[in-house]
């Protein structure tokens, strides 16, 4: 590589290349400007300053660079005319001169620079007053890095000081040639190979990298900066520890940052990015240029380790990393296949600048303000030494991922964490939250004290019954009880229960279906002073036996039909035997400490646990709800939840304490959306409860549409944000999300999920009255906002415990460490606090959903499935396959053809969120409580997983490549399908290229499309022996389908390749074989055809050689369409039968003849388009082959790795096709054309399907909402495939009835200058 300056300059260094391509992809981003200003106070010698800056800028050659996108790739030239000159701006007249200067500087910094067009640097001096100046420097990152900026600035200061003293400054800054020579030497060196090997080994078993916020780490156009000063005592401790441990203090800070980040991510290890100056031991040490690299630093969590050991291990890793610090992280990213915006090499950046960077101007006081150090992809912690021993922590955060408040919170929290870490023996001892955050969490967010009468539920119900005796209390199937009747019947039954021995401290079991009797029974039990125990008779006898055996109720209230099952355990009172008149004996009165009910929940061990809830707890819950939601006598509240599920408690008793109407739904109605919708309308229900999965089913019921209620409550499961939004589109009602376990009296938190709520995810919200929510870490310390922890509940609503199980009670109900004498309950849920105090539920502590290292919102996948309109209901779960890999499984109800749904999802979801398995069910299984019964979901069959492992050498090789190309966690099985595993056609190309490298041959794209499994491709590889084709042969099979159906022949567009039809081929239903015709001239030894008719005749011959009889279906996009019409003409001339002739936005040659000659770069644009880039959006990219190939390689496109021969072939064919099209004159085709028009394109141009009128029988036009260039993309394919499928079927149908023959087609080409391939 030439290092000597010549007229064409030099190639970019490795360090520059990464930035160059990043800027090319985001040309409008101004953050590639680095910049700073220095405020100078004192008597500035302006002449000396101007001279110093001029000289320093002359020495810093990089400032005069220009980048040209030359044919062989980007190059840089020195252009002295582009060197910045000091510009002096007088702002002394402004009211606030500093503010005026800063505003001007901010505007300047916010202007993006095009390195091919604009000067890279600016030097400006603002005069604020006679003794006050601001010197601004703005330099594109391609020309400089942070350390280079210091060199340049200090050099200017040295020159200034020397001139003032009349001495000479030190030696000049070395020239750029030193940097270029070192870069060139390193590129070809053994050292680079050794470095590469080091990094590959270090990152073997690639960690899952997460940061402090989810989302794509792609720099916005600005960033938040929040800073704190580290106090002197902490700095002194830091230096002390550095001396004691012989670890440089900057490395100590980096290690503490790693521990801090780990606290937030909760992952077993974290990867930080550590900027590396790359100058030690380099001849380029003093050159102001871009040399900086970012080293990824892996730090594993080491629970229980001493601080000293932790610090030593991180310091060792840093030292090793720096030894290999020249190896570019951009290259490592490519080595590790960390492709695409979401895949991270590292999380937060930690940049420690251990010396004061302020230049020393003699006689002047200088203050440095660093404005930007380049793009902020995620979050950067900068520690900046300043003044005499000061240290500032600056947090720069990407505003797309963090709020300014979050940035400030991190600055304060990290500061406190470091101070704590310096005082601790073990880092485990250091809390994550600051004392202020802990106080806010424990005290302010839980300030829920509220006066509630200290009475029993019995007393509240009795008071309401007395208040409005004539008002309706309960309605059931058209029968109504007034409060007076309820009072009389419940008192009578209570007497009978008392007679049977029930009272405080005893239990009465209730085993009745929903009915008036059920309500009477519950009220009666409470009035007898006993606690009620609901039983579900659908449970197996064995379970009932266990519950009754442990609970030992005095009496069971049940129907005669069920009495037999219960008599062995207790006296059964059947409704027919209940007294109707009040007896003589006085009822025993419970007190607030007594139990009100006992509800059994399933234990994780399978043994049901009876939760004993006291009157005081449930009274708090009901009184909160009554007052908070304004529940009064006008309310009609539906009771539809089984009594064994604690939500039923408020459904039963909230109306009865508020004097409202309790509408009892018929038995089983709770599972029947239609019955519920009818009931709601008939009974004018105002308030209802739904478990979210049941709500989803209910909203899908047409009868539910337009219902009006006052309020709907959700609890029991996570409320997905999409369901909330669907709710408000479907019904008119308030929606409230409640959360709580049975162990804390139904619900402990609430969140209004109204139509204006945009929260994602929907929080479980704020604590109810007299209740505390704690989110604690493993050491029982409160977490700061946003950091996940274990959710603990405390306050008046806690249950007494588990009936007869003091051991279990002690395990889950612990002493509250924050409120002496109180208890707290371990919920087993993970959650975090939002900054506003709302709690967000994250899931059970035993499962977390991550797919391929990315957080996945399953609700989003559910929403995509529902939006497809193909499913009536669905549930998406994360499940582990046989190999232990987490996979997404979607269970769908009401889907006619799962294959169609599977085809559609990739268009709606990022690939990693597309379910690995779609399982069609008749209905989703639900538990007795109406919750989705996850345990009852059938195990999915993962495509191939758990299948036969690869056996033959070829299978093993192919399996390893599948894994590599697709980034799979595990090796696929022999039956695994490349496309089902998530492969797309570009990855297919990459796979074959890798196969060719590994095996010396590949069986071609056609073989992969035809048999896309590991075994299939391996078989083809073996069969093919040493013959290497490459997916470039003239006829390739894109899909194999029903042999009874005539195949479709798809003819390549301008680029000569037909890979682009792969998606369409796979989307056709029913599946038929699809063949792609590709330009023979892709092969270097094949001449270009003399005219288009010759080519069409060649294609016709190949088609007939493959299949001797018609009908022949033809399709072509763009140039392919012109060819399709010509092939149709040729086939008809031979007397063959032609089927459908489909043109994808192809216009006849006549439209192109008069167009100007296409630019020579059309073929390169075609290449870019194949790779998925819009060439018109890459204005700065030179359209030379080298430049385009370099770009494709840098953006990790498999096309960038196409062989030179293949690329030459494409370039040649594009040019050749253009010539063929212009010279072609269409013959008439005696059949119809099916024309798919790119309806969003061609504005202002006279391109219409009607241009074909003279060359076909007639034209059927199908409008596709797409641009021409996107017609074979996923989106357009979703519309084209069904329409094309229908046309093919109709054609074959009409052929059976009449005789059709010749189909249609007089094709026409489309714009040959368009880039599509």
């Amino acid at each position: 590589m030439a290092v000597s300056p010549d007229s064409s300059g030099w190639p970019l260094t490795e360090a520059q290349s990464g930035l160059w391509y990043a800027q090319r992809l985001d040309p409008a981003n101004p953050l590639f400007n680095t910049g700073q200003y220095i405020e100078l106070v004192g008597a500035l010698d302006l002449d000396a300053f101007r001279s110093a800056v001029t000289t320093a800028v002359e020495e810093a050659e990089a400032l005069a660079l220009r980048v040209v996108d030359a044919a062989e790739g980007p190059r840089q030239l020195l252009e002295p005319s582009r060197r910045p000159r000091l510009e002096v701006v007088d702002v002394s007249g402004a009211a606030d001169p500093l503010a005026a200067a800063e505003a001007d500087i901010a505007r300047d910094m916010a202007t993006p620079i095009d390195p091919t067009r604009d000067p890279l640097a600016a030097e400006r001096l603002f005069m604020l007053g006679p003794q006050r100046f601001v010197w601004q420097q703005r330099i594109h990152h391609l020309a400089i890095d942070g350390y280079g900026m210091i060199l340049l600035t200090q050099r200017a200061a040295d020159l200034y000081n020397a001139r003032r003293r009349g001495t000479t400054a030190g030696p000049a800054l070395p020239g750029l040639d030193v940097v270029l020579a070192e870069d060139a030497a390193y590129r070809g060196s053994d050292k680079r190979q050794a470095d590469a090997a080091y990094w590959r080994e270090t990152f073997a078993g690639q960690p899952e990298v997460v940061s402090l916020a989810a989302g794509a780490p792609v720099s916005a156009f600005g960033f938040h900066r929040r800073a704190v000063e580290i106090d002197a005592a902490t700095i002194a401790r830091l230096h002390g520890l550095a001396r004691e441990s012989s670890i440089p203090w900057p490395d100590l800070l980096t290690a503490f940052c790693a521990a801090y980040v780990q606290r937030h991510t909760g992952t077993p290890e974290v990867v930080l990015g550590v900027p590396h100056m790359g100058r030690l031991g380099s001849k380029a040490a003093r050159v102001p240029a871009m040399l900086m690299n970012v080293l990824p630093l892996r730090v594993a969590q080491q629970p229980g380790v001493t601080r000293a050991d932790f610090l030593a291990s991180v310091a060792r890793s840093l030292m090793k990393a720096r030894r290999h610090g020249r190896y570019r992280s951009e290259q490592l990213r490519r080595d590790l296949k960390l492709i695409g915006r979401q895949r991270r090499l590292h999380g937060p950046l930690v940049n420690v600048l251990p010396f004061d960077e302020t230049p020393r101007f003699e006689g002047l006081h200088a203050r440095l303000e660093v404005l930007s150090a380049g793009p902020v992809d995620d979050i950067t912690f900068t520690f900046r030494a300043h003044g005499a021993g000061g240290l500032r922590l600056e947090i720069d955060a990407n505003p797309d991922l963090y709020s300014a408040d979050e940035a400030l919170a991190h600055a304060r929290r990290l500061d406190a964490f470091i101070a704590g870490a310096l005082a601790a023996e073990r880092l485990d001892e250091v809390p994550t939250a600051t004392p202020e955050e802990a106080r806010r969490h424990l005290v302010e967010m839980n300030a829920t004290a509220h006066e509630v009468p200290d009475v029993t539920l019995t007393a509240l119900v009795e008071a309401a019954m007395r208040r409005t005796p004539d008002a309706p209390a309960v309605r059931f199937e058209g029968v109504e009880l007034s409060y007076a009747e309820l009072e009389r019947r419940s008192a009578a039954l209570a007497g009978a229960l008392t007679d049977a021995g029930a009272g405080p401290d005893s239990l009465v079991a209730v085993a009745l279906p929903r009915s008036l009797e059920l309500i009477v029974a519950l009220v009666a039990v409470l009035r007898a002073g006993a606690a009620y125990l609901p039983l579900d008779l659908a449970h197996p006898d064995e379970r009932l036996a266990r519950i009754l055996g442990s609970a030992k109720p005095r009496v069971v209230l049940a129907r005669e039909a069920d009495a037999g099952r219960l008599r062995p355990y207790a006296t059964v009172l059947v409704p027919e035997a209940w007294p109707t008149e009040i007896g003589a004996a006085p009822l025993r009165v419970p007190v607030p400490d007594d139990a009100a009910y006992v509800i059994y929940t399933s234990g994780s061990t399978g043994e049901p646990k009876g939760v004993v809830v006291g009157h005081r707890a449930i009274v708090n819950r009901l009184e909160w709800m009554r007052e908070h939601y304004g529940i009064g006598p006008g309310e009609r509240i539906v009771q539809k939840t089984p009594a064994t599920f604690d939500v039923s408690v408020w459904e039963f008793f909230l109306p009865l304490i508020a004097g409202a109407v309790l509408v009892v739904a018929p038995p089983e109605a709770h599972r029947d959306p239609l019955a519920l919708a009818r009931l709601f309308r008939a009974e004018k229900v105002t308030t209802a409860h739904f478990v979210p999965s049941m709500l989803a089913a209910f909203l899908a019921e047409p009868m539910a549409r337009g219902l009006e209620l006052r309020q709907v409550f959700c609890s029991g499961e996570e409320l997905p944000a999409d369901l909330r939004d669907r709710f408000h589109r479907t019904l008119s009602a308030e929606l409230h999300n409640l959360y709580g376990p049975t162990e804390a009296a139904v619900d402990v938190s609430y969140w209004p999920a109204g139509p204006d709520d945009r929260a994602r995810p929907v929080p479980i919200g704020f604590p109810v009255w007299n209740t505390r929510l704690y989110v604690l870490d493993e050491a029982m310390r409160p977490q700061p906002p946003g950091v996940p922890g274990h959710l603990f509940l405390a306050g008046v609503q806690l249950a007494h415990g588990y009936l007869g199980r003091p051991d279990l009670t002690a395990e889950r109900f612990l002493a509250d460490p924050f409120v002496p004498g109180e208890r707290m309950y371990r919920s087993g849920d993970l959650a975090y606090y939002r900054p506003d105090g709302a709690v967000v539920f994250l899931g059970r502590s035993d499962h977390q959903i991550k797919i391929r290292g990315l957080r996945v919102e399953l609700g989003e996948i559910e929403a995509a499935i529902m939006q497809s309109g193909l499913a009536r209901q669905c549930a998406v779960v994360a499940s582990r396959d046989a190999a232990g890999t987490q996979r997404i499984v979607a269970y769908v109800v009401g889907v006619e053809d799962v294959a169609v749904l599977r085809e559609r999802l990739p268009a709606r979801l990022p690939d990693y969120m597309v379910p690995s398995a779609l399982v069609a069910l008749d209905a989703l299984p639900v538990t007795a409580n109406g919750k989705l019964d996850r345990a009852a979901l059938p195990a999915p069959e993962f495509s191939g997983s758990g299948g036969r492992p690869p056996e033959t050498p070829s299978e093993k090789r192919v399996a390893a490549l599948f894994r590599e190309v697709l980034g799979l966690d595990d090796e696929p099985a022999a039956e695994d399908d490349f496309f089902t595993l998530g492969g797309d056609s570009l990855q297919a190309v990459a796979l074959l290229l890798r196969l060719r490298e590994a095996a010396g041959r590949d069986p071609g794209l056609a073989a992969l499309f035809a048999a896309p499994s590991v075994a299939g491709l391996a078989g083809a590889l073996d069969e093919q022996g040493a013959r290497a084709d490459f997916g470039l042969e003239p006829l390739v099979r894109l899909t194999e389908g029903d042999p009874a159906l005539p195949p479709l022949f798809a003819i390549h567009p301008a680029g000569g390749l037909s890979w682009c039809y792969g998606g369409l081929a796979r989307a056709l239903a029913p599946r038929r074989s699809v063949y792609g015709l590709q330009a023979p001239a892709l092969s270097p030894d094949k001449p270009l055809p003399p005219n288009l008719e010759t080519l069409a005749a060649d294609y016709a011959r190949r088609i007939r050689a493959l299949r001797s009889t018609g009908p022949y279906h033809l399709l072509g996009w763009s140039v392919g369409g012109i060819l399709a019409q010509a092939v149709a003409v040729e086939l008809r001339r031979q007397g063959a039968e032609v089927g459908v002739v489909a043109l994808l936005d192809a216009y006849p040659s006549d439209c192109w003849r008069a167009e100007p000659e296409p630019a020579p770069d059309a073929a390169l644009k075609a290449l870019l388009a194949i790779a998925g880039h819009d060439p018109d959006r890459l204005p700065g990219l030179a359209l030379s082959r080298a430049s385009v190939v370099a770009f494709l390689r840098a953006s990790d496109s498999p096309l960038g790795t196409l062989s030179d021969t293949a690329l030459d072939g494409v370039v040649r064919v594009v040019a050749g096709n253009n010539r063929l099209v212009r010279g072609h004159h269409h013959a008439r085709y005696d059949g119809p054309l099916t024309f798919f028009r790119a309806a969003l394109d061609h504005e202002g141009r006279d391109l219409t399907p009607a241009k074909w009128a003279a060359y076909a029988d007639h034209i059927d036009v199908v409008d596709i909402a797409s641009l021409h260039a996107h017609l074979t993309g996923r989106e357009a394919t979703m519309t084209i495939a069904p329409a094309l499928g229908a046309a093919l079927e109709a054609c074959e149908q009409s052929r059976k009835t009449s005789c059709a023959t010749m189909a249609c087609a007089d094709a026409s080409p489309s714009s040959p200058e368009r880039a599509e391939a």
Partner: protein, 93 residues
């Protein structure tokens, strides 16, 4: 207003640096015996990294010497570093 950097400059210089003193400092930073640090040895080969080098330079400048890290970075050997320090000490007189 007094520039903080001036304070550093005005501070009483500590004892002058010596080549052996620097050798000891380097050895301590690398957890090596001073006898292992040859004058012409590349300190990089001995395991020195940029943060440690910067730390050493910062420490040596605490006595009031005006040391530029970039000069040290150009030639990371004990001999090279001593040349820079000796020159600065001579200038300061």
């Amino acid at each position: 207003m007094i520039d903080p950097t001036e304070i550093r400059r005005l501070a009483e210089p500590r004892e002058s640096l010596t080549m052996d003193g620097m050798r000891r400092d380097i050895a301590a930073m690398l957890h090596e015996d001073p006898s292992e640090i040859g004058e012409a040895d590349s300190l990089l080969d001995l395991g020195l990294d940029s943060m440690r080098a910067m730390n050493l330079v910062l420490g040596w400048s605490e006595g009031g010497l005006d040391l530029e890290f970039s000069e040290f970075a150009e030639d990371p050997t004990l001999a090279g570093w001593w040349t820079i320090v000796a020159r600065q000490q001579a200038q300061r007189g």
